[in-house]
Subunit: 218 residues, 4 copies
Amino acid sequence: MTQTSTKTAPPVDGRVSRAQRLREERRSQVLRTARLLFAERGYHQTSINDIIVAADIARGTFYLYFESKRAIFAELLDSYFVTLVQAVKRIEVGDGSAAPMEQMLDNVRRIVSVVRAERQMGLIVLRGAGGIDAEFDGRLADFYGRVAALIESGLRLGITMGLVRPCDPGLIAWCVLGSVKEVVDRVVLAEGAEVGLAANVDHLARELVEFNLRGLFR
Amino acid sequence: MTQTSTKTAPPVDGRVSRAQRLREERRSQVLRTARLLFAERGYHQTSINDIIVAADIARGTFYLYFESKRAIFAELLDSYFVTLVQAVKRIEVGDGSAAPMEQMLDNVRRIVSVVRAERQMGLIVLRGAGGIDAEFDGRLADFYGRVAALIESGLRLGITMGLVRPCDPGLIAWCVLGSVKEVVDRVVLAEGAEVGLAANVDHLARELVEFNLRGLFR
Amino acid sequence: MTQTSTKTAPPVDGRVSRAQRLREERRSQVLRTARLLFAERGYHQTSINDIIVAADIARGTFYLYFESKRAIFAELLDSYFVTLVQAVKRIEVGDGSAAPMEQMLDNVRRIVSVVRAERQMGLIVLRGAGGIDAEFDGRLADFYGRVAALIESGLRLGITMGLVRPCDPGLIAWCVLGSVKEVVDRVVLAEGAEVGLAANVDHLARELVEFNLRGLFR
Amino acid sequence: MTQTSTKTAPPVDGRVSRAQRLREERRSQVLRTARLLFAERGYHQTSINDIIVAADIARGTFYLYFESKRAIFAELLDSYFVTLVQAVKRIEVGDGSAAPMEQMLDNVRRIVSVVRAERQMGLIVLRGAGGIDAEFDGRLADFYGRVAALIESGLRLGITMGLVRPCDPGLIAWCVLGSVKEVVDRVVLAEGAEVGLAANVDHLARELVEFNLRGLFR
DNA sequence: CATGAATGAGTCTTCATTCAT
DNA sequence: TATGAATGAAGACTCATTCAT
């Protein structure tokens, strides 16, 4: 139906033809360009025209690689979700495991590093992905919901083991998630962040984790 | 310059003409309608047409009261910011003051009550105001920045007084803000929230404050 | 949803406002223009742009009056079908009725006169309405199907009454319809027709009817 | 000028090279595929993409064999016209000839058989070839014009010989043609035709010819 | 000969805003 | 003041055709 359908399966011998490689390169170059623009100006303020001009391709070429504007955005979003989720490891509690605090620190460090590596997507996910579409809103809510569920199950375990004080884990999971999101957003992604605080990731991670574990009180 | 700025100041005698009153009524009715629609479908998915149909006014009439689509949205946003800021009181520490915990609880209760009273604007501010425009993004950042600064100054005071453990107040302020925002968003604004957890505002406030003060550890 | 929705019901007093009248005029002017273009160049070769340029209206204005290109074409088609159907009267056989031949002559005369009055639509229906769309094809087939059914029932009656020779009425109805369509198409609508044969409608009608009644044999 | 016209005349020895043969095979396979698609969905709804996918050739290859979309359609059309024209034999009147009625019956039978054999082209010619293009419309008109002229000359002869009643042969030729076209279209090409009436070609031909010769009257 | 990635003119449609009445 | 018809810039997407490999 659409001309997009990329037959061109790689040769059976497993090697990838030169054309294939070029094709992939082109595709990811468009993806990169689009990511940049979406992050800078948001979904609605970025037109297909903006993308093809910035990527220096023809109008039709865009549709050779992506079905629609929504599709390229969705792809960007989904692949970022995957990257992010992979950065978060469940906190293991056991003899051979590192201290929970250390594990949490590692989680935060990994998240920060992912977000900093792909600053643009961070901006999109934390700020610009809402309000595009009912479907995208849903996807975003889904993603955060899954993360919150992960945290919640950790909390439950911690409570059972007597490590975490008794609390409403369904609620507190959102507190934890919220504090992380906000710090990542404001501190990691802030314009001048490169020079400032965020440069010291370790300090940031330690403060964040300590806040979550010990709260404000002395 | 534009016709809209014809503020038609009330007559010197202080009384407001009947026409004036009607004008104001109509204006705020349009505002209400727009708020509803923006909250339901977001900025981009709400057209001027949607608004005038729902408000039952003519297309031209809209522009008699508001300069543009942006303008009405900005107005809605700004007035909500004012309401919200008023809900947050600086934590007083002194002989005659209530316990800090109690003050924080009150802050949370007030915020929750404001947000629930104007659920629509809450949705807009927490979800839908990003990604519209560079300027709106800035406004939003500004607002949260002011709130964070407020929290930060409280933290500094707390630290000085030995109530709050030593920490990076500029960073932790964002943690606090983030946890509040997320809980308000997911728990207070969630579809079925009216029946569920959020119904018990007190429980919610207490859990949230406790998390912020004592963290997760037992 | 669309801005097309024409509220503006006429005032209760039954009179039509000046604005209403203007609106209708504008609308039918666009219809006329579109009809002309569709007839001249066919559906696919006529762009919205062609229509608005020829009608001297703005792009948006078109969509104020019509939902889409398909919609305006459908409207043109439907109203023509109505006109055409009204031109065909069932052949009455009875004491007070004119001779069947005379009634058929009148039918042909009326059809020819309708077609000549709206030459453009004739061209569209007889030549250009096929191949646009499965739906339009269906509509066209439907229309001709109804006409054929009308003829068929006439034939059955004629056979019963001994006026028409025994034959397969379902088949012969298409013969009759086909002969009429072709003559109307080639003779009435032909470019130079105005000067030639078709000028003499009476001759044409008589020949056509005679052919249908008596065939070719001497 | 165009690469396509590289007819690569066969070697003088009259034999056709293997490559030549392959070329021809491929070409006609594409023609077959295109015919199928054009018939099924019409000219405008069939894209080059549809054709190359169905024919399993590369995009560029198509243009190796055919100049353009128009060109392949034109070729299909023209070759069908030739086939059709060959099916119609002039009615011979003379001592050694069969009865005119029998000759006409044979004509109809041949036409029906051609049309049924290449149902797709029948559909295209009778329904889908109009409204594509001024030129195609002309070609179609030309073809029917030639057929009508053939019939007309037959009628003149018949009149001269006293077999056909006096009439306007230029007009009546179109009646005859119209009745044949319509029957072929609706009855022969109708979806379920294979099972229904049309199965009995002889009945159909006889009814059609009888209608043309004797008309409706008893 | 064959390929298929690239092209870009052209299409329909939307919608914030203006302005004559 | 109120109206709503008119505007036109801007947007997403299609598809016949070309051309380097």
